[in-house]
Symmetry: C2
Subunit: 144 residues, 2 copies
DNA sequence: ATTTGTGCAAATCGTTTGCATCTGA
DNA sequence: TCAGATGCAAACGATTTGCACAAAT
């Protein structure tokens, strides 16, 4: 991780109102240095260990939520009992392949939603999620 | 629960390849006798107890999964660590109000999705979920 | 009689929390 | 200095599982 990258990440955290601690920098590095990505807490905890940095799992959870609250991540609930965090916080769309637990963006933002009704009184739309659930061609898509 | 209704539910279960047991009939009664609805296992367990029927929580979970596998229910993952089951199994759309954990159908099927790309090689689209996340007008929608 | 379903309690797994200790500004 | 952050282990809550017993065909 170059000094330039550290500076970039430090700024990013400071702008979000978060102190640039060793742990947050390590996690931010994994999340924000390359292309957009989708991670779970468990995955990220594994990756940060691989880098030789020690960050406790509880801190990974805390940090993911702090990043989400700061608008740096979007939280996605796709399967019960596993949360994904998406580094792309804009309104975009996803493919999900249940069999493999794999999640990825739908390439190109060709999707448009027509005829979205007025939200109920006193509420506004925070986000529209379009999730396209895929199955492998030869299967029914049902399982226990 | 009238005899007619019992017959209807018994047939429904038999057609799904499930033996019409006391527990399944009680749960099916709650799920399929009125309008379409969204329930969690916990909710349904509470409701069935209120009717004076004893069905263990594990059986509620088992039964919900059996119903889902039989195509009688659709499973929806909306928030991490709470699964909703929808008695309407057709491709339709939902509002979700996170603050209250409330879920409901978007009235009228006015929504159309334009420009859905070809799914990746070897896969087909099983289902498209559109989830419109609402927040109360005076809030940011972010919380810990 | 044989297969299938159910109840119970214990186990699992992701996630959160309480609290003592440490760190960044 | 001292508010804020972290680590650890224990707590939690939803869900699943193993197995003995009961019910359906």
């Amino acid at each position: 991780m170059s000094d330039l990258n550290v500076d970039f990440l430090e700024n990013k955290l400071r702008e979000a109102g978060l102190r640039p601690t060793r742990q947050r920098l390590a996690l931010a590095h994994l999340l924000f240095s390359g292309d957009d990505r989708h991670v779970t807490a468990e995955q990220l905890h594994f990756e940060v260990s691989e880098l030789g940095e020690h960050v406790s799992l509880a801190t990974v959870y805390n940090t993911l939520h702090q990043f989400r609250n700061a608008g740096l991540l979007r939280e996605l609930a796709i399967e019960s009992s596993k949360t994904y965090f998406d580094t792309n916080t804009s309104n975009h769309n996803h493919y999900f392949l249940e069999a493999d637990g794999k999640l990825w963006d739908i390439p190109s933002d060709s999707i448009a939603i027509e005829g979205l009704p007025q939200p109920p009184e006193g509420m506004r739309i925070a986000h529209v999620d379009v999730m396209v659930r895929l199955v492998k061609d030869d299967k029914s898509g049902q399982s226990d």
